[in-house]
Amino acid sequence: MTGHSLFSVRGLACARGDRTLFAGLSLQLDAGEALHVRGPNGLGKTTLLRALCGLSRPLRGDVRWRGERTSDLAEEFAAEVAYVGHLNGVQGELTAAENLERAVRVFARGQDAALGVAAALDRVGLARLATKPARHLSQGQKRRLALARLLVLRRPLWILDEPFTALDVAAVASLSSLIGEHMAGGGLALIVSHQAFELPGIRDFDLAHFCKARS
């Protein structure tokens, strides 16, 4: 299995209901690389990300991490991925700090947290709100709390679905530089976003290329 990229996808096909969204999708990603997945609404960008991190079952295809099938790795692979979806996964009844502490305990496996909870909250600009119940946070603040999870867990592969929604200009820039640091440290990232953002070295990936012309 030498010569493989760190993360490689071959011949992936996904469906929504009985309709095939895309087929024959292949991509390669190595340490320090990032991919910006593009395409109009309804093509299946979210489905692609969910299939890659194991949330949904693809029709066909071969997804490999370090040369091994992710479906065989199962939880081993999950320990390498951080996923931020449309939903923030932030529990309204818990405070911002409690949300992160819980993430560390439920998701960090063996390894030490990359950043302490307080430091991570500081980094995303929520330090003052640490003890506030998360339901009182604004949309943008909740989004930042979700992204702070990326900092407290040391995961090589980031899969981010529209991470910039609800973020203000400064936060967008700060997140971009965060992803840049992640790449510089040898991390991988797959990002779906309609919003423009600047990130040196990121490649574009057009999903429309793998979709049949729709009737």
Partner: protein, 258 residues
Amino acid sequence: MGEFGGFAGVSRLIKFIHKYGAPKRFYRLAGRLVPWFAGVTALLFVVGLYLGLYWAPPDYQQGDAYRIMFVHVPNAWMSMMAYVIMASFAATGYIWNVRLADIMAKATAPLGASFTLTALVTGSLWGKPMWGTWWVWDARLTSELILFFLYVGYMALQASIDDPRRAAHASAILAIVGVVNIPIIHYSVYWWHTLHQPASLTLTSQPKIYITMLIPLIIMSLAFMFFYFTMLLVRVRSEILVREQRTDWVRKLVRSKR
């Protein structure tokens, strides 16, 4: 899916299922089989009804009322068999992603529910002359009633999910849980029944069943079984068309039959 790929035999079986379980192939095959199955069903019904209603002598205890057995018992058998078949198809569809199996499971549910309903109503009609009331909490009738609720739940879940794949897989899990539970439900109901009516008469617990009763019973059971297979094929054919409507072969088929 990877965890099953390791066994060579299983993977060969899966390949076989995927090849002959292709909806297009099966649609044609089923179309050719339906008339034959329908013919066998009709023949079995004619013979079974003649033997059951006319040829078999009356029972020395129950008189002619026991003839209800020839519809009640086959339906009760089929109601349970259909649930097991449904759960097996559903499990196949869920574990190996076989769409045809999903469709078979979905098509089985209404047929199984019909068998259950018929078993309940005929059981009640048999009970009235025997027990003097329309409904007795007899063990067989009670577990049949619970089985009916299980069928209703399965169909309700199928109907309330729009995405056909999710509907099939969600109801598959329900069916599997049901099939694990049914023996326990059955056992608990019989246990409960013996506690409360230790001496009551059970409809089919005669010391011996005569050969003259057994022959019509078997033929009627076969008739209902073939009826099930016939209607399963018919239902599966329409469901295949609905679920494959975007494929080229269905479009070609529709165009040719305009």
